[in-house]
Subunit: 511 residues, 4 copies
């Protein structure tokens, strides 16, 4: 127990002894930030240095000699050594650590010039966006792959009859293609949102400086181009303070993960022994040596929880920054960015594992077909047939069928032609003209599906048409992905080449 | 204490006495659902009935006489009486209640025909979308208005100097226009997302029926057109099971509310007595009769909590449906839809109150100008000036300024020309050629702002340019809003007119 | 398009015309708040007025005549008329509306005295707590009931064999009692948390006044007692600013709803046709006239979504107030309280519907027993038996069983004694001494369950013991509930009686 | 573009080639799980092995020789080598990897015996709880420390006058002690919840086995004791399936983090230049070399975002598992546990950094005192004084004060005695008897505070009383912490000693 409370003067004395950073600040903030920064942002930070140096020289804000000295110092940085460095409190963070290395390499004065007309603030948002565009693209690519696998399933199964459930009960026959295409269609919209969010990230805030740009005649477009951005953000206050460059993406991921969670629930159900509708390959199933028939579909459980985690983190990031000021604040920076990265990583893990496990999954066609034929789930079509064939009012047709089901249940049988005729006679007092063949067709799940040819229906002709449309979309999305992916590789080469040209005026090369 | 546990047989006996709905089911589910349905979906439901009847007749699935009987029965419904009806357990829900009314009006048989080639499932999603598109449009419109008010502020204040804060400390001068345009720019992207989400809702799932469409030759495009939709959804399983028609909107609202929360924090701060930067009109301020100078900016607190509620509910809806099956389930239906509506309503309330209170807010220009000039927050520009004017290395310029600040702090003064020269002499051992006028300009906040002319900077010419661009976007967004809004009015007239034409063949009119 | 931006002077002119409350403030804030206040807090507010008046007189801060005038004015208030009043902007809120009524009844001066030594701030938190304690108690009571129903199921089914699943596959036999008791045990802890949270609410902040108490010699304990509180909160700043009086409860509800969500998933699965393990009574099942055998267990779906909504709202409230200041702010007041009430109401609805639907649910004992015997899920017991009976190493026993399963699978059979002996011979080269009876017992699900007698196991003796313990806890929880419930009724009578005694000095009575 | 869709047979062929685990399963699941398990659970897993072996021997389920062989094999494990092992897909996870090592050390047969009467399922939940109790204790300890620092502040500042704000405006004088004690009181309840949650974790589920316990005569109490648990969980299904052992803790952390977020908002405001009320030591402030007076209170921003992250992750975990089945599922296991650990770690970081930065923070007493005296915030006390001193009705007193404030505002002055008398005369037409000294006292903030002596008020005598009560609670909480902390060290020694005794029968020792 404390015996005595310190006076305010004693506290001041203690305070006067503390220098930045204290042990507590290092332990609870800076160490984590340094490790995270090395892991997530190191390369981007170096690239920003390159691009800024080149632009400053082009704009004659620094001299050619200064540029060359800076580029050579950058080229000489040993990234592996930096990655291997542990945080020791002698510098604030990765930025200052690298600044120290540059000072050692080319002197304080020249190293200092690199910081002309910029600020930690715009550098930070720039490297966050550089990381994010890569992660965003990977999420989009994983979603495109999952849609591809589901589209493959659809195309293999235009004729595969399965029961569709409503309120968890088998309700009507449909096809596996129709079911898979439902997910394909939804994922198509997810991919659209991911594309837009990914494109929206790729604007350079560099030049926003602390928050009000600079009086130096910098060329924002040039650094944007050198760093592979599609253009510049505009307002510099927003360049620093806006958060929608990541919240739009996270919101799209949250929407996607809710969808993935719904899809995987369906496949997990199909994998239960009582359903027996899907077989994962051994590669995704945990089995027991003593009960070899017990096949735990663990991969799908992991898909579910990874999607759940990604969802929770994506919305959690938004909740975390909610009600913070609009401007330059730590709340959206070094502590938060790793949570964003983790959300995206878990999304990619979930999507990739889902694709991989479905890619070699097979279906128990017999069981599915049988389930789609039993339990009277085709009787609505029988009623429709009576209406159309006999011209009877809907209500009467409905009554006849209902009576037939009742008779069949009492007899522990399916509805037979005889049962049907008996029911019809009882209701109408008359004999219907529907033939046995027509009757059989009306109750046949294949027939049920075949007649549903309208837009969005399960008839194979319609699902083939829909699948073709989706394939085209897939094609366009893949092109987009390839284009973005290439651009993110190309700028790196271009940046290095530009630096080399500058340096090679002196017969040297960079990095 | 229970003395005896019932046997399974006793439970069965008790169970056998229960009929649907039990008191508990009525009390905890159906009563709320009936009230909510009357409030949110009644008109849409009637319109769906009209459109379906017209289409069925056009497709010759029902006869012209049946159509007319149905349309007249619909026209005769007394909506106010329906709204006044309390739930009593004698029917399941609003749908069945209206079916009863129609049966009474035109007989069981004809009323029954209206339910040909459709299902509760597609009707439900259709009316949810019809409600949602209206609410979504209102959110978009409220966001457009808020942006308009902020744009007005920007255009009034291209020359108004204010301090910009970093890490909650005054950091650099900027203008009120620059600050307001940052929010305008962010809101512009929010509005874009809201437009896309609103457009995405407006596709008709009608014809998806239970989940697999129908064998009847219905015309989905026709009902879509009659109900003011832009087209049809495709896959019928997705038509029933997909949730992104509302999750995309809610995600956009969540992103928007995080932004609004950030903006309002800034204005709340400005309204604190210690800041004294903004004055709300008396209309938005709660005052005390005994302390008339205490002006509680309660409207802004309400903006914050309403935005927070909207955010929490928007993400909460996603959390609520997360990990539910993909298909037809109650989880996304009658219990959930009111929560969606409440989230959107709170978003509209927050946005509208924000617009209204800012619209007559004024700023204490003197205080803002003074804050932007004190505390040395312009000294970075002085350092830049030394670099440019004297050709000194950045590091040395920085040192001179740093020493000047130190001298000034010691003298409890701002930096004077003499202080500056003394500092420069101490550092460089030399006299700088910067004149007093140049020195004064370098420390002047207006000058600070004037030289920041690059893309996104606060210089008035640049903020004027940016404001003009935003006005154009505003113009396009308003056109979109007017177009949508008109379309949502027009279809109602068209639908009624179409019904009247059908009926008037018999010299009658509808509703 | 706006042609011209208003000048700051024009805005000031417009602002000067606005008086509190503006139309926007009424429409977006005060109207909702008035309706919510009437619905949730009216009675409590009147009671606070009674209690405060009585205490002020007892402390001689007001005179006996003033007290009587106030009590009579309060007694004369027509609550139904107040409830019927629509918000019209002529007063700020319910508090001021009632103040107006009191002024009319007993004059400005006397009505004004009621507001001595208190503030809107402490009144508000007091009435929020008075509402909350009632809602909290109802949640607790609903949880107690659900546990009771599950305990009934357990007590009916100590011998009912069912399969337990791991990773969604049948894994081992257990009993329905064991399964139900797992939920009972978890709910027991939920109830404990709810009891603590409910008790924690019931402290009176009255006397905290605006935030610093008062210089008047009020008696906080007396108002607390008159209003049915268990005592007073202490620090007055915390009395106004602390939020854990509701966050603790909401956190407990969130934890509970996650549990409920898990439980209901199990019963929904049991209700699927492929499982056929549980039958809800007709009272909770939506059926189809044409497919009478299709029984949608909609009540359970509603339980799930209502729990999900309660969960989302409970955590949403916390998210909404997160990062707001600590003190007196609107964020935790009139806009937020209805969301808290809705979260609790949905929790009660979910729990009550769950209890009611399980209360008459019956189980398909044959199906459950059969599932627990098939699929080799008892073979781990066979291996254990070999170890114990033959003294063989575990590994060898395991191998024998594994081989037996393989033989059986190849023969599309269950494991027979012959298959077992063949497998044993192949592995050990020897004949085991286990008899056919021992073999049969080892594979028998009843035997499997019977031998699991250790703490927490499914053996009927153990589940009977556990059930008895849970009954005792139930008994204590019910006593607590009755005690609290009675206290919340008693104080109302006492308060009215106290008021009447004061007034009846003059031969009159109150309300 | 894919030219051809694989047939179902081709898929089967591909599937047949896949073995567990596939590359995708390793990459997206097992690698992360292995790394996480080594980091979080390695030691606990080994300890579970020790305890189980000892208990099996004591119960004579394995022989003494087998026990010794197992204990020696366990003792010989090289934990550092295990930590250095990278995942390569040749084993499923850490459990199997260690099983392999044990098999190598003591043979398949003996190693296999260790797995008698247990399962991966109960082992997993046991080690999760062992990790969690350590983390929970650290959160509790960090909260106790923060309360201690705030209590120190309170005890230094019983007489320090500060303004209390309502609706973000200065409202009344109070003391720093009163303000700090508000947080102390709230944290006291947080600590109570953390204590309960921590205690609730510490029950051993070991012996639940797969989900139904075992037929072997194990001693659950003994393993519980050896592993430092306070007892056993009961129902084995709940032992595996229940999640409230972590959700209760996370809910308590969420509630705590909301509180911390509120507290830190207050200190961040105090640290703004416009407020200037608090000074953090240099050790927690980021400064600028060019603007030495700009002191960014970054430590407090980190406190806020770390608390926000902890909050978002804590509620996120609950959201993630919401609507998953009740039983043995991956969703609450290896993918989720690291998110729980991260939530707790961020909570500890936030709390510790908050304590550390407040511990050497000092307050600008003059500024605070001045703010508490200006702006008429003491006038309510003047009105109260008139009521008490003159016996005037409250309403009249109020009017006099209101008029005085108006006069003072018009004269740009504070209220003087003359102004007051002029106002009184105008209202009452009479001269009040209040003396200048009484008048001065009534407006004096110290007097304002001194007279507020009732329970929970700011009068120094009352805050001293309250602080003493809080110190006592602190004392009890620290004792609890020490007891728990010691217990978590002691069992480790005891377990090792017990193992050594068993082995040393043969003259050997373990580990």
């Amino acid at each position: 127990m404390k015996s005595k409370i310190a006076s305010e003067e004693e506290v001041m004395r203690r305070a006067a002894l503390e220098t930045f950073p204290t042990e507590a600040y290092s332990a609870h903030v800076l160490t984590d930030c340094f490790e995270d920064a090395k892991r997530l942002f190191l390369e981007s930070l170096i690239e920003v240095h390159y691009a800024h140096a080149i632009m400053l020289a082009e704009q004659q804000i620094i001299s050619s000699e200064e540029e060359i000295a800076l580029l050579r110092a950058l080229g000489d940085l040993d990234l592996d050594a930096i990655r291997g460095t542990a945080y020791d409190g002698s510098f604030e963070d990765l930025f200052f650590y690298i600044e120290e290395l540059l000072k050692k390499a080319c002197g304080d004065d020249i190293a200092g010039r690199l910081h002309t007309a910029r600020s930690r603030n715009d550098i930070d948002v720039t490297i966050y966006r550089m990381r994010l565009r890569v992660d965003a693209l990977q999420v989009a690519q994983s979603a495109i792959s999952l849609r591809g696998v589901l589209l493959d399933i659809a195309e293999r199964h235009h004729e595969t009859i399965i029961p569709a459930y409503t309120h968890t009960q088998p309700a009507q026959p449909t096809t596996l293609a129709h079911f898979a295409l439902a997910m394909v269609e939804v994922l198509g919209r997810d991919i659209e949102r991911l594309r837009r969010a990914t494109d929206a990230i790729n604007y350079s805030p560099l030049g926003s400086c602390a928050i009000t740009t600079t009086g130096f005649p910098i060329n924002r477009d040039r650094t944007a181009e050198l760093l592979g951005f599609d253009g510049c953000t505009v307002n510099s206050y927003a360049g620093i303070g806006a958060v929608d460059y990541f919240t739009e993406l996270l919101a799209a991921v949250a929407v996607l993960m809710v969808n993935v969670g719904k899809f995987v629930q369906e496949f997990l159900l199909m994998a239960m022994r009582e359903f027996g509708a899907i077989n994962l390959s051994d590669g995704y199933v945990q089995s027991s040596s003593i009960m070899p028939q017990k096949r735990n579909p663990v991969a799908l459980e992991h898909v579910r929880i990874l999607a759940s985690k990604a969802f929770a983190q994506a919305t959690g990031v938004m909740s975390a920054i909610h009600n913070t000021p609009f401007g330059d604040i730590n709340d959206v920076e070094d502590d938060l960015q790793p949570m964003i990265a983790q959300a995206l990583r878990d999304a990619v893990r979930s999507l990739s594992l889902f694709s991989a496990s479905l890619d070699t999954a097979t279906f128990n066609l017999d069981i599915l077909r049988r389930r789609a034929a039993e339990g009277f789930i085709t009787v609505t079509e029988l009623a429709d047939t009576i209406v159309r064939r006999e011209g009877l009012p809907f209500k009467l047709a409905h009554k006849i069928v209902s009576r037939s089901v009742r008779f069949a249940l009492d007899a522990s049988s399916e509805i037979t032609y005889d049962i049907f005729r008996a029911a019809a006679r009882e209701i109408t007092g008359d004999v219907l003209s529907i033939t046995r063949a027509e009757f059989d067709a009306a109750l046949d799940p294949e027939h049920f599906v075949q007649v549903r040819t309208i837009l969005g229906g399960p008839a194979p002709a319609e699902t083939r048409r829909a699948a073709a449309v989706e394939r085209e979309k897939e094609c366009l999305d893949k092109e987009w992905y390839e284009r973005c992916s290439k651009a993110l590789g190309d700028y790196k080469l271009r940046l290095r080449a530009t630096a080399n040209i500058a340096v090679s005026a002196q017969g040297l090369s960079v990095g």
